[in-house]
Amino acid sequence: MSRTIDFEAFRTGPDADGLVRRIHELFEGPTALMEVCGTHTVAIGRAGIRSLMPDGLRLLSGPGCPVCVTPLGEIDMALAAARRPDVVLTTFGDMMRVPGSESSLERERAGGADVRIVTSALDAVEIAAGEPSKEVVFVGVGFETTSPTIAAALMTAERRGVENVSVLPFFKLVPPALDLLVAVPGRALDGFLCPGHVSSIIGSNAYEPVAHGADMPCVVAGFEPLDILAGVVMLLEQVRDVRSGGAARVETQYARAVRPEGNRTALELLDEVFEVVDADWRGIGTIPESGYALRERYAHRDAGAKLGVDRTRPDEPEGCICGAIMLGERIPADCPLFGTVCTPRDPVGPCMVSSEGSCAAHFRYERR
């Protein structure tokens, strides 16, 4: 039985006006809410939601753009793998234009490297099965929405005996980034708009430590414009509560997709294939226990080890303040390079490179 969902109902109509009015009613003075998901960054921009907010209510973009937080050294590893004549490099589309120290996957492909855009890690397994003389490497960039699918793909490869497929495990985890964001003294954040799809995997309970430990309101919101507006309403209600002595909590606006305990199957897949390790976030530095490495029994699926490609630590471009932007300390307009030297066509830093990056979204969707 198939069911059609009318997404238009989440995008338009008098409900939107009602929610915007409620936001203005609840607003009590300078408030900074941070969304930590690239999809939210784009959705907010595309719907023009900032233009509807009261003056003084800031919607900041956090480090929720998986491409943006992939360090230069990891990008260079992908490029090094792509250059191997026996490698088919498979990647999601948004990695193609990311500049490494000297090149990009797009440029490597134009120069003859076998780089293919896929929409699923399983595609990499299929390609490997069909081209046994090649090593198929998958660039594993993404948060918890993505990493379970790569875990499943690797398990499929094991089951089918497809040996010539491996992964560059550049995945990051969201909750440790939130821990970092609340830990810095003097930070003026009033609430987190939590990522809808990451949360459908890890569960809304994952934010309990941040909400209670740091007294930080957390609302898990969906991605349609009405979801986001409703999420902002719920956050402002909590902010009002907290400012008059109440306790912050975790709430779920996106109840149709998110459960408190998350998706057990996905979490089991993750646990089977990956172990949590410290990880390097571009512009931010090392965040403890915020990434994945392959477990011992899957170590033969690590592309870096298999190909003998090492991680390096190249310098970041000068003048770029993407790190500060991703932590909510600065906004794109603060960057001297924004819109002049650094544009979507000629990006300097990671926030402009990815279509979900804070700077790219500001350039495209916010009035200047």
């Binding site: 023009g48 900032r50 509807l52 999601f92 009035r367």
Partner: protein, 337 residues
């Protein structure tokens, strides 16, 4: 020549095999008195009409060659006819250059040429001259077509992208994003189990309808590569006026919307091959929409916005927000998550 043959390099050599190909396949499909003289050049003085001469050209490299709603042949005629129609010209004749790749099945060539002939007939244009070449196997995708077209712009018709004025109204003749979405799905890179039809069609009648209803039409464009958003940016930039678009007013087919939603694409940036964006004086807008809706190619015609404000295009979103609508930068890529 048997039906299961494919194109070989010999078909392009100028010898007997090429003559046979041209006479028995190409000319046979495109049959018309002008073409059948087969001189080195065609005398088309009989096709001259009153008005100013307009010329255009386009090359067609679409993959796959055949897709739901059309093929490279349909596109090759419609694309050039439409460029002339957007200038206000009545198209009269096209040339057809074809470059076939060694190995192209003959039946595919015949099928494409049949589409050229049918679309030319529907558009009332003559294929007056042509050329056939064959290249070695490798990278051409089977077939490339080029068409150049001429037409005549009646006196009094003055269309131009720089003629848009404050207060003018933007009208689209139908749903946006159809063709490019159809091509994406037909390419099967995304394995979407759905058939999306391209809107590929010649627009000479639609253009004439608009001009008859609104003689003061400022400009017409067919939003192809880069989609509606790019076309509107071009108009704004050429005219120096701002354009405001109401997102809710832009018609998009449900099946196109579903596919673009899943892939993270925006229909406002997806090409059409059978739609017009017309800029008309405010007083003519209602009648133009009504006239379009009476035509089979204009059933979903709608006012989508107006010219106002500083240069640049602004989108009023479905939730009432406002944000810039920029030109397409690079290519659209499907997102990670």
């Amino acid at each position: 020549m048997t039906r299961d043959e494919s194109i070989t390099l010999a078909h392009g050599s100028g010898g007997r095999l090429m003559h046979d190909l041209i006479e028995r396949v190409v000319v046979r499909a495109l049959a018309n008195p002008v073409l059948e003289t087969l001189d080195d050049a065609a005398d088309i003085s009989s096709l001259v009409e009153p008005g100013r001469l307009a010329v255009t050209t386009d090359s067609f490299v679409v993959q796959p060659l055949f897709f739901p709603g059309g093929d490279i042949g349909t596109l090759a005629v419609a694309g050039t006819v439409n460029d002339l129609a957007m200038k206000g010209a009545r198209p009269v004749a096209l040339t057809l250059g074809l470059i076939a790749e060694e190995g192209l099945p003959l039946v595919d060539l015949e099928r494409a040429l049949r589409s050229v002939a049918e679309t030319a007939r529907a558009a009332g244009v003559v294929i007056a001259a042509g050329d056939t070449k064959v290249v070695e196997r490798g990278g051409l995708g089977g077939l490339i077509l080029n068409t150049a077209g001429i037409g005549f712009v009646p006196d009094g018709v003055e269309l131009g992208g720089d003629r848009v004025r404050e207060g003018d109204v933007m009208i689209v003749s139908g749903t946006m994003g159809d063709h490019e979405t159809a091509i994406l799905v037909a390419r099967e890179a995304f394995r979407i189990d759905e058939t999306i039809e391209s809107d590929c069609a010649p627009l000479h009648e639609v253009a004439r309808l608009i001009l008859e209803t609104a003689p003061d039409t400022r400009a017409m464009r067919d939003p192809t590569r880069g989609g509606l958003a790019t076309t509107l940016n071009e108009l704004s930039s050429r005219s120096g006026v701002g354009i405001e678009i109401d997102e809710s007013a832009v018609p998009v087919r449900d099946d196109v919307r579903s596919v673009t939603d899943i892939l993270g694409f925006d229909p406002l940036y997806m090409a059409n091959e059978g739609k017009v964006v017309a800029v008309v004086p405010e007083s003519d807008a209602g009648r133009v929409v009504e006239a379009l809706r009476g035509h089979r190619l204009g059933r979903d015609a709608a006012v989508i916005g107006r010219a106002a404000g500083e240069p640049g295009v602004t989108l009023r979103t479905k939730v009432g927000g406002a944000r810039p609508l920029l030109m397409l930068e690079g290519v659209q890529l499907p997102r990670i998550c």
